[in-house]
Symmetry: C2
Subunit: 559 residues, 2 copies
C-alpha cells in the first residue's frame, strides 16, 4: 500500500494557476484585484460595487454534528463540495475563514482543508497570508494605547481604570500574557493596572469586521464598541476616544476579501476568522455577499457543531446581513457517531454498528434543528479509511429512514471526484426544495428569553439558569439599551449541553450562563456558559521546534 | 503666493507607474517580483542569485550634520539625489529604511521623504507596507512565548527568570507596555516575572535581518541571539531553544527587499529599519547589495547625524558586508547651523550670518570625520524657504574654503530638478576621487579601546568613562568570547558629546558608557551612554485622533 501523503506534500505537488487567471474565471477584471504574490489577491471595492446589482447565487452552509476533538472535516467537505460542484459543471465558489497564526506553532495542524480538498497556497494561508490579522492586531492595540494614553494625559473622560473592558491582543499562543500588569515604571510610564492579552481572532475587531457591510459601516461599528465604564458607570466607547478613523484606516485593506484557489484550481474566498465561542465563527459578510454575486453556488462554513456554528450563522450572520441560506450540509463521521454511542476515544477505529446506531441520535437532533430554521438539509458522511461497509450502510439507511438526503463523500482522498454525488444531491435539493429561512427568535425579546429559546429549541435542554453576576450584567445592558441584539452563545462544542461529557443527545439539563457581555461593535450579546479561553498556550513540545526553512525559502515541519 | 501643499497632497497628485514597469526599468524579469498590490513588490531570491556576478555600481551614503529635532532632510535629499541622477541620464536607485507604524499615530510625520522628493505609495509605506515589521513582531514574540513555555514546561535549560534578556515587542507607541509583569493568574498561566515591551524596530531581529546575507545566514544569526542566562550564569541562546527555524520561516518574505518608486517614477528599494541608537540605523545589507547590482549609482542613507549614522554605516555595516562606499553626502541646513551657532530654536527663521559662521564648526568636524574613513565628501545644503541669499553664499564659501565640494539643493520644492547640480557634483567626485575606505578601528581590540577610538576620532572628545555596571558586562562578554565585534554606540543625536545641550563642536568632554550589552545575532556590542527609550509614548493629542478613511478607502489626517 502506498504511503499516505501529508497535506503539505499534496499541496506542494499541485499545480497552481496564477491568481489573475483564477480571478478571470470568476468574472473579475484584471484591475479589480490586488495581487499579493502570484497566488493570492485582495478583491477591490470597485469589483464589489460593480457586482452589486447582480443576482445572488445559492447559499449552502456546511456545518457538522457534535465533533470529536480532531474535528469532523467541515473545511475539507466544504472545499470538496465546491470542487465537486465545479466538476459537474456548476459555477461554484467556497468562502472560508482565515486561520490564526498562533495555533500553527502549538499543535501540528493547519486550517486550510486536507488531503485532496485544500485551499492553496496553504503555507501562506496558514502564516501571514495577506496581513489581515496583523492589521487587526494593530488596530486593537492602537485602541489600547489610546485608552492608556487618555488616562495618562489627564483622563478627561474619567475612565475607571478598574473597569476597562478592552484587552490587548497578539496573534500568538502565549499563556504568559493571559494576565498581566501594565503601566509599571513610574510617572512617565502611565498608571499601573491589570490587563489581559487575547489571541487576535478573539478581538471584537475581528467579529466586527466580519459583520460589517463596508468600510463606512465598519467605522460606525468600531465607534460603538464599549471599551470601559467611567467613574459614574457610564459607558465609554471607542467613538468617545475618537479612535474609529485611525482604526478603520489600519483596516482598509483587511476589509477586502482574499482570493485564492482550491487544489483543483477553482476559486476560493478566505476572509475573516472570528472565534466560534465568544464570537460567531464564520467568514465575513462582505466575502459571503460577494461570493453570492460571483457564483451560482456559494459554499460556506461555520465553526464547531451545528448547535453553535449553524445556530449563530442563522441567528446572527444571516439575520444581520439579510442572507437567505438555501441549504445546509451537516457533516457526520462514523467515528464521531460511535463516540456518541459510548465508544472510548481510543477504540473509534474498530467496527461497532451498535454504537453507531446509539450515537445516531446526535445527528438526528442536529438535522431536526436545521429544519426548524426552514432550511433543507443534506447529510454528508465524511468517509475515513477505517469505516466498514456495514457501518456505512447502516448510517445511510438510518438517515434515509428519517427522510434526510445523505451522501457518502471521499473529499480527502479524491477531492472533487469524491464529492460528485454530494454535489448532485445538493443541486437536486436546491432545485426541489424551497428554503423558508427564518431565525428562531426575535432579537427584541429579553436576553433571558433569547437564551432560553436556544436552549429549548436547539440544545434540547430544559432552561437557562443565570448566575447573579450574569443577571447584574443583563440589567446593566438593559439600562444602556444594549440588550436588543442577537445572543452569541459561548458553550463547549463537545455536547449539546454545557457539560462536555454529556454526549449524543442529552435531555433534561439546564444551561448555566456564568457571564454576559456585549460586543456592541459586532452587534451581539455574548453569553458565556463557562470560562472561555481567549489566549491559548503552547504544548510541552511546540510544533515550532520542528519547523525550518532552507535558503531557497522551502519550508518543512509545517503540518 | 500659492498655498504650500502637504506631502500627501503632492503624493496623491502624482502619477504612479505599475510596479511591473518599474521592475522592468531596473532589469528585473516579470517573474522575479511578487506584487503586493499594483505599486509595491518584493524581489525574489531568484533575481538576487541571477545578478550575483554582475559588477557593482557606486555606493553613495547620505548622512547629515548634528540635527535639530525636526531633522535635516536626509531621506528627502537621498530621494532627490536619485531623481537628479536619473534626470542627468544616470542609472540610479535609492535604498532606504522602512518606517515603523507606531510613530505614525503619535506626532504627525511620515518617513518617506517630503515635498517633490518622496517614495510612493507613501501611505502604504507608512502603514503596513508589505508586512515586514508585522513578521518581525511575530518572530520576536514567538521566541518570547517559547522562552516562557520552556520555563513553564519544566525549564530543562534552567533559565534564570531574573535574567531573561529577550523582550516582547509591538509596533505601537505604547508607554503602558514599557514595564509589565507577565505570567500572572496562577499555575496554568506560567511563572510571574518582570518583562518589557519594545517597539518592533528596536528588536534585535530587525538589526539581525538587516545584517544578514541571506536566509541561511539569518537563521544562523537568529540561533546565536543571547536570550537569557541560566542559573549558573551560562548563556542561553535562541538556538538552545531551537527557535531559529520557525522564526526564519516567519521571516522568509520579510527578508526579501521591497521595490517601490519615487515621485519621478525611478525605482526605490525600501527594506529594514533598525533603530539608529541601540542598532545601526540603515537599511538591509541584502537591499544595498542588490541595489549595487541593479544600478550604477546606489544612493543610501543612515539615521541621525554622521557621528552616529555614518560611523555605524562604515564601522558596522560596510565592515560586515564588505561594502566599499565611494562617496558620502553630508546634508546641512542653514537653520541647524544657526542653532549650533547659538540661536534659540524659535528664532531659526531669522537671518543670522554670524551665528551661521559660528555653527559651521559642526559641519566642519563631520566633514573631517568622513575623510578619516577615506571616503570623498560632498556637502548638500538642503534649502529652506527662509534661507537668505547672504546666508547661502556664506555657507557655500566656507565649505569651499576648507576644500569641500558643495551643492545647494532644492529637492523638497523641485524634486530631481532641484538636485541636478548635486547629482553632477557627485558624479564628478566619483570620477575624480578614489575612495580608500577603511573602518577606523580593528574589531579585535578590546571594547574599551574601540569605544575610545570613536570618542577621540569621531566625537572629538577626550576619552570614554565606563560605569562599574558597564565594566561588569564587558568582563562577562570577554568571558563568553563575545567582545570581538564592532561596537554600536547609543548616544544622543543632538551633540557630538553625550550631553544634548553641547551644540556645535564641543571639546574636552568625556563620554560615559552606562550600559553594555551584546546583540550577538546582529553581530555588535551596544554601548549605551544614556537610558535609551525603546518604547515611545503617544502625545497629549495623538495624530491618530485626526485620521480618517472614507468608504472608498481614501485616507485623511495621515501627514
Amino acid at each position: 500500500m502506498a504511503e499516505i501523503k501529508t497535506d503539505i506534500e499534496i499541496a506542494s505537488e499541485s499545480k497552481l494557476e496564477p491568481i489573475v487567471d483564477i480571478a478571470k474565471k470568476c468574472g473579475l477584471k484584471e484591475d479589480e484585484i490586488e495581487q499579493y504574490g502570484k497566488y493570492k489577491a485582495k478583491i477591490s471595492f470597485d469589483a464589489i460595487h460593480r457586482l452589486e446589482d447582480k443576482k445572488d447565487g445559492k447559499l449552502i452552509l456546511v456545518t457538522a454534528i457534535t465533533p470529536t476533538p480532531a474535528g469532523e472535516g467541515k473545511s475539507t467537505v466544504s472545499i470538496g463540495l465546491t470542487q465537486g460542484l465545479n466538476k459537474i459543471g456548476k459555477n461554484s465558489l467556497v468562502a472560508l475563514r482565515e486561520p490564526s497564526l498562533g495555533p500553527v506553532f502549538g499543535i501540528k495542524g493547519g486550517a486550510a482543508g486536507g488531503g485532496y480538498s485544500q485551499v492553496v497556497p496553504m503555507e501562506d494561508i496558514n502564516l501571514h497570508f495577506t496581513g489581515d490579522l496583523h492589521a487587526m492586531t494593530s488596530a486593537n492595540n492602537l485602541l489600547s494605547a489610546l485608552i492608556d494614553n487618555h488616562i495618562h494625559q489627564g483622563n478627561e473622560l474619567r475612565i475607571d481604570e478598574r473597569q476597562i473592558l478592552w484587552k490587548r491582543v497578539l496573534d500568538m499562543n502565549d499563556r504568559a500574557l493571559r494576565n498581566v500588569v501594565v503601566g509599571l515604571g513610574g510617572k512617565v510610564c502611565g498608571f499601573p493596572r491589570e490587563d489581559q492579552f487575547m489571541i487576535t481572532v478573539a478581538s471584537e475587531i475581528m467579529a466586527t469586521l466580519c459583520l460589517a457591510e463596508d468600510l463606512e459601516d465598519l467605522k460606525l461599528r468600531l465607534s460603538r464598541m464599549l471599551v470601559a465604564y467611567d467613574l459614574d458607570g457610564n459607558q465609554v466607547t471607542a467613538g468617545d476616544l475618537n479612535a474609529q478613523g485611525a482604526m478603520a484606516m489600519l483596516l482598509k485593506d483587511a476589509i477586502k476579501p482574499n482570493l485564492v484557489q482550491t487544489l483543483e484550481n477553482t476559486p476560493a474566498l478566505i476572509h475573516g476568522g472570528p472565534f466560534a465561542n465568544i464570537a460567531h465563527g464564520c467568514n465575513s459578510i462582505i466575502a459571503t455577499k460577494l461570493g453570492l454575486k460571483m457564483s451560482d453556488y456559494l459554499v460556506t462554513e461555520a465553526g464547531f457543531g451545528a448547535d453553535l456554528g449553524a445556530e449563530k450563522f442563522f441567528n446572527i450572520k444571516c439575520r444581520l446581513a439579510n442572507l437567505n441560506p438555501n441549504a445546509v450540509v451537516v457533516v457526520a463521521t462514523i467515528k464521531a457517531l460511535k463516540m456518541h454511542g459510548g465508544v472510548n476515544k481510543n477504540n473509534l477505529k474498530e467496527e461497532n454498528v451498535e454504537a453507531l446506531k446509539a450515537g445516531f441520535s446526535n445527528l438526528e437532533r442536529h438535522i431536526n434543528n436545521m429544519r426548524k430554521f426552514g432550511v433543507p438539509v443534506i447529510v454528508a458522511v465524511n468517509k475515513f479509511v477505517q469505516d466498514s461497509d456495514e457501518e456505512i450502510k447502516t448510517l445511510i439507511n438510518m438517515c434515509e429512514e428519517i427522510g434526510a438526503e445523505v451522501s457518502l463523500c471521499q473529499c480527502w482522498a479524491h477531492g472533487g471526484d469524491g464529492t460528485i454525488d454530494l454535489a448532485n444531491k445538493v443541486v437536486e435539493v436546491l432545485d426541489k426544495e424551497k428554503s423558508n429561512f427564518k431565525p428562531i427568535y426575535d432579537e427584541k425579546l429579553s436576553i433571558e428569553e433569547k437564551v432560553n429559546t436556544i436552549v429549548r429549541e436547539i440544545y434540547g435542554g430544559r432552561k437557562a439558569v443565570f448566575t447573579s453576576s450574569a443577571m447584574k450584567k443583563i440589567k446593566k445592558l438593559e439600562e444602556l439599551g444594549l440588550d436588543k441584539m442577537p445572543v452569541c452563545m459561548a458553550k463547549t462544542q463537545f455536547s449539546f449541553s454545557d457539560d462536555p461529557t454529556k454526549l449524543s443527545a442529552p435531555k433534561d439539563f439546564d444551561i448555566t450562563v456564568q457571564e454576559v457581555r456585549v460586543s456592541a461593535g459586532a452587534g451581539f450579546i455574548v453569553c458565556e456558559t463557562s470560562n472561555i479561553m481567549v489566549m491559548p498556550g503552547l504544548p510541552k513540545v511546540p510544533a515550532a521546534l520542528n519547523m525550518d526553512v532552507d535558503k531557497f525559502g522551502k519550508m518543512s515541519g509545517l503540518f
